[in-house]
């Protein structure tokens, strides 16, 4: 059974010498929420623009709804796009913005009917009563909703969101996140969501696609990505791992913390040892860990995050080690600033990357 709504096959896009997108292939199912994670310049926005039809790829094909849309113009694709800067029509009211595609698009819905449908969308995003306002008379979060309502009014089967929450403050961001999810469940739309925030990507996506330098480097559920990053780069973007450079040799990893057995290493283009922040344990300097890693580090400071506490240690040569303590696991210990401690962890829970690994 083919439930695929959307498919990319070997799409490559260059700007001069710069390869913005390198041989990207992807398949997206109906009613799926896909988030694209990557640093700025990783090609994630380019990918959306190519899908929307604002840019033409050099090679590769794009399929949507069972047809090849590679050479179809943007306005004939029927794919919605929500811009980071919202790109509302400044000369129109909220109502006119939302009804714009209905009244001016291919179907040319008569104004009364279009306004009826637009009003439904405005209600859906919680902006009832603001229909007559100019888009300069509403707040940033409200503009975001107008942008979303404007796109959803066209009932697209696929909606592309280009860092749609980037312009909002943290509070609004988490509220909009919930609303996006609720709207998606109500309307049954496939969402492709580009973000630079790992929290957002993991929280929003049914699947997460990690991009780096124009290449898709991992695709998986948030759990898979979080627990088993496919490469040191993915681990780095997730911003949840302490990374150690070292050497993997004969199934053992040697780094600043000593040499540890690492039988289940993942194949990568460089040797790297990753330990999640919340796997790190702190021991007094006098303690002798029976077996396993032991890293001497100086305590710097802690940050209170509500549900957990982040503690920062200096392992020498400016290598910062982060330790996360979940407060649900008990009260945190207190550490003395500028004092040395011993950091350790269960080697079974570490992720090891290496050139000599089999897989």
């Amino acid at each position: 059974m083919d439930t695929s709504v959307f498919r990319l096959e070997g799409v490559t896009k260059r700007y001069g010498d710069l390869v913005a997108l390198n041989d990207a292939s992807l398949e997206v199912g109906a009613n799926e929420y896909l988030s694209f994670l990557g640093p700025s310049g990783s090609g994630k926005t380019t990918l959306l623009r190519v899908i929307a039809g604002f840019e033409a790829p050099e090679t590769g094909r794009i399929f949507f709804d069972g047809r090849d849309i590679t050479n179809v113009q943007a306005h004939e694709r029927g794919i919605g796009f929500v811009f980071q800067n919202f790109a509302l029509f400044p000369h129109l009211t909220v109502m006119q913005n939302v009804a714009f595609g209905l009244t001016n698009g291919k179907t040319r819905v008569p104004t009364p009917e279009a306004e009826g449908r637009a009003a439904e969308m405005i209600e859906l995003v919680g902006l009832s009563g603001m229909e007559g306002r100019g888009v300069d008379q509403i707040s940033g979060g409200q503009r975001q909703r107008v942008a979303l309502a404007r796109t959803l009014a066209m009932k697209p089967r696929l909606v592309l969101l280009d860092e749609p929450l980037g312009a909002l403050d943290a509070n609004l961001r988490s509220r909009m996140r919930n609303e996006l999810r609720a709207i998606r469940e109500r309307l049954g739309v496939t969402f492709l969501h580009v973000t630079g925030s790992e929290t957002e990507a993991l929280a929003m996506g049914d699947r997460v696609v990690v991009l780096d330098r124009g290449t898709i480097i991992q695709t998986g559920t948030p759990g898979e990505i979080y627990d088993r990053p496919a490469s040191p780069d993915v681990a780095h973007f997730l911003n949840r791992f302490n990374l150690f450079e070292g050497t993997l040799s004969n199934g053992s990893f040697s780094a600043s913390f000593g040499t540890i057995r690492a039988p289940a290493a993942t194949r990568a283009d460089r040797d790297c040892y990753a330990v999640r922040y919340d796997r790190v344990k702190v021991l007094p300097l006098s303690a002798k860990p029976a077996d396993g890693p032991a890293l001497k580090a100086t305590y710097i400071a802690s940050e209170y995050l509500g549900s957990s506490i982040m503690s920062f240690f200096d392992a020498g040569q400016g290598h910062l080690i982060e330790m996360e303590h979940h407060l649900s696991l008990g009260a945190p210990e207190t550490y003395e600033p500028r004092q040395d401690y011993l950091l350790t962890w269960n080697p079974e829970q570490a992720i090891v990357f290496g050139r000599e690994a089999a897989i």
Partner: protein
């Protein structure tokens, strides 16, 4: 110390500048109220009167001074300026729109367009009339050959204005319209054009005023029927009466009225542009 000296100096400079700018017009205005029909275009004012204004409109009894032969020339010039304005602005908007994406030979085309305002007008006029007379073999008219030179002259101005406007234009609103299924032409009409309208207005004003008082190109290219600047120049060769000054005051007032309309429309559009800028600031 420095500013104590520089500020008054700059003030004097600006005062002189304003004096030279408006001095001629002030003198013109004063003399236009000279007594008629015997008073001449000089000081002192014998007696203040509106005689010459009435003379311009043919409201005075016939005298030895003939009425100004401007009626038809004025109509011709206004029609020519309107035609030029429409064609140059449309061309200017379209070509500037084309320059939003770089294309092969775009630099060459750019200079080709801008050349129209660089070439000395007398040469363009002369060249056009030679081309019409000797090579193509068509008659010269204000609405054919002269019109062509006016468009070639004002088009670059409209083009440059629109280029500057579109340079700052955030094209994501156009992409947003496309993604809503709106075709590029409707997008241009409903989104792009309303937003660049202040620029279009400026381009129109440039084209209209430049065409209205164009002299060197028209001199050779207009053929038998004269435009207003040529007709005014023609009266100088006989004898100058204050009626020409009265006429000058009236046309200047007309220009001011035009500028005021432009200013009002511009203010309305700028408010809209500000909305857009605000939206971008937040993003």
């Amino acid at each position: 110390m420095e500013s104590r000296f520089i500020k008054p100096a700059l003030g004097v400079y600006v005062a002189l500048f304003v004096l030279f700018l408006y001095g001629p017009f002030v003198v013109l205005t004063i003399i236009s109220f000279q007594q008629g029909p015997d008073g001449g275009p000089q000081f002192p004012i014998v007696e203040w009167s509106t005689y010459w204004y009435r003379q311009v409109f043919g409201l005075t009894p016939p005298s030895r001074i003939a009425p100004l032969p401007f009626g038809e020339a004025l109509i011709r010039s206004l029609v020519l300026a309107l035609m030029t304005m429409v064609v140059s602005t449309v061309l200017g908007v379209m070509s500037a729109q084309a320059f939003r994406r770089s294309f092969k030979g775009s630099t060459f085309v750019f200079y080709l367009i801008v050349l129209g305002m660089m070439v000395p007008g007398v040469l363009t006029g002369l060249g056009t009339s030679l081309l019409a007379n000797n090579i193509i073999g068509i008659e010269r008219h204000w609405y054919t050959t002269a019109f062509a030179t006016h468009v070639a002259y004002t088009f670059p101005f409209a083009f440059l204005v629109m280029l500057a406007i579109l340079n700052r234009f955030d094209s994501s609103v156009e992409e947003a319209a496309w993604s809503l299924g709106v075709d590029p032409w409707t997008t241009f009409r409903k989104v792009t054009f309303p937003l660049i309208f202040p620029g279009v207005l400026s381009a129109m004003l440039f084209a209209f005023t430049l065409s209205l008082d164009e002299f060197p190109r028209t001199l050779f290219a207009s053929g038998r029927d004269q435009t207003l600047p040529l007709a005014i120049y023609g009266t100088f060769s006989v004898e100058i009466h204050p009626n020409i000054f009265a006429f000058g005051v009236l046309t200047t007032l007309f220009s001011f009225a035009l500028l005021s309309v432009y200013g009002i429309l511009m203010a309305l559009s700028v408010r809209r542009a500000k909305k857009m800028a605000m939206q971008e600031d937040i993003a």
